[in-house]
């Protein structure tokens, strides 16, 4: 499987359709990871596209000793950390930023769902995003990969090329920080 991905990647520059195939296969994974990291659609779109561009540019560096998906995940996380370093991403403004950019029927579907969910649900999402926004890029990357992408601690260490002990340490710090951020909502979430 890994070998076939390597062979596929080797043909990327000679045949652009090959890269399109790679993008089509992985765009959802990469986009949703970018959304988990950035917290809004606009940044997630930029981040995911930048990740694919970097992958295209550095395709020769893909050695095939990890899965292509993991390699793309690593690029996406690195792009996110770079992006955060370069500018402040407004991660708290989920509704304001991304709903306006949704197109066609998806927008109305989303708004309909939001209305059904009611104000309470919207507030919950907003508070979760607000809490996530307080994490450092590395803490957020580890937390997101574990909680929303369901990677094991070992897999996270592999994707981010860091020691498993570092993953644990970052994850614990992330959970503690989130706990502190959610202090105001302690009664609501059962934290007394």
């Amino acid at each position: 499987m890994v070998e076939s991905e390597k062979q596929l990647i080797a043909r990327v520059h000679s045949d652009k359709r090959v890269f399109r195939e790679v993008v089509e296969q992985h765009k959802q994974q990469v986009y949703y990871l970018a959304l988990d990291l950035a917290g809004n659609h606009a940044d997630a779109q930029d981040l995911s596209q930048e990740a694919f561009l970097k992958a295209y540019k550095a395709v020769d560096k893909f050695r095939g000793d990890s899965k292509l998906g993991s390699w793309l995940y690593r690029i996406t996380v690195n792009c996110f950390i770079d992006m955060k370093r370069k500018r402040q991403i407004l991660t708290t403004n989920l509704e304001d930023k991304h709903e306006a950019e949704f197109i066609g029927s998806s927008k109305s579907k989303h708004e309909l769902a939001k209305q059904e969910r009611g104000l309470e649900g919207a507030m919950l999402q907003k508070n979760i995003e607000k809490a996530l926004a307080q994490l450092t890029p590395r803490e957020r990357s580890v937390f997101v990969l574990r909680h929303y992408q369901e990677f094991s601690l070992k897999e996270i260490a592999g994707v981010l090329s860091i020691a498993e002990g570092t993953v644990k340490s970052l994850l614990f710090r992330a959970l503690q920080r989130l706990q502190k951020e959610l202090e105001y909502y302690r009664p609501d979430i059962g934290l007394e």
Binding site: E24, K27, Q45, A58, D60, I103, L132, H147, F172, G190
Partner: protein
């Protein structure tokens, strides 16, 4: 109960939270959970926090977004230069280049900073060289002039010559000899000084001679040159000043 460090406690909490406890860890965790109320509370809080955060919803950006994804990406691909493949050279190549660079740097430093300072020629050395050159020229011209006189045999020879020119040259040589004598005041130049003095007498006679009237005056000059051995002295002086010339002369002799 075992003593656990803070790090061990944190690792146990995380492993339990994500259901990644090994058998030995599980027993440690359960022991701590039962006997340490702070540990138990920490675990409960972490569980609730994780549970709260897991309520996060993912919003699907919609079919249109997915369908247009490649169309947005493709134009950017054309603007993206692909990474240049790095050619890995063997280590010896880098070592050779490094050695050559160090060698060149050494040569550069040596040439730029470690060369002995360029010798500054003192002014008196320059002057001495100039005096030597003028002396050579003076001796050569005097010799030519005297040879012409010495080789005259009859009045017809004198008539065929422009004696006036001889006299002009004599005056110039007298003038030059006066300057050179001043320069020959230092020790070791006594012989030259004497030669110039002898030449001055002869040159003065030439400059004041009315030879057009009487060839006898020329004969007297020839005698004077011969008596004073001026030609021999000039030759000897030139030989000493020019080692190559000296060797040639010795070979002839």
């Amino acid at each position: 109960m075992k003593n656990f460090t803070q790090q061990q406690r944190e690792e146990l909490l995380l492993a339990a939270l994500y259901e990644e406890l090994s058998e030995s860890e599980r027993s440690d965790f359960e022991e701590l959970l039962q006997k340490d109320s702070d540990f138990a509370k920490s675990y409960t809080d972490l569980q609730k926090t994780a549970s709260f955060m897991s309520q996060r919803e993912k919003v699907d950006p919609g079919e249109a977004f997915w369908q247009g994804y490649w169309d947005k990406l493709e134009p950017q691909l054309q603007e993206t230069p692909t990474a240049t493949r790095i050619i890995k050279l063997p280590n010896w190549a880098y070592q050779t280049v490094a050695a050559a660079a160090i060698l060149l740097l050494g040569v550069f430093i040596g040439r730029s900073f470690m060369q002995p300072p360029r010798q500054v020629v003192p002014i008196d050395v320059v002057q001495a060289a100039a005096i030597e050159a003028r002396t050579d020229a003076y001796l050569e011209r005097s010799k030519v002039l005297l040879l012409g006189l010495v080789n005259m045999e009859q009045k017809e020879d004198l008539e065929s010559l422009n004696f006036q020119r001889y006299q002009n040259v004599s005056r110039k040589l007298l003038n030059e000899g006066g300057h050179l004598k001043e320069a020959f005041q230092q020790p070791g130049k006594a012989r030259l000084r004497q030669l110039v003095s002898d030449l001055e007498i002869i040159l003065m006679q030439i400059a004041n001679l009315d030879a057009q009237e009487d060839f006898t005056a020329i004969e007297m000059l020839q005698t004077g040159v011969e008596r004073r051995g001026i030609m021999l002295k000039i030759n000897l002086e030139e030989m000493q000043r020019d080692p190559v010339e000296e060797k040639k002369t010795m070979e002839i002799l």
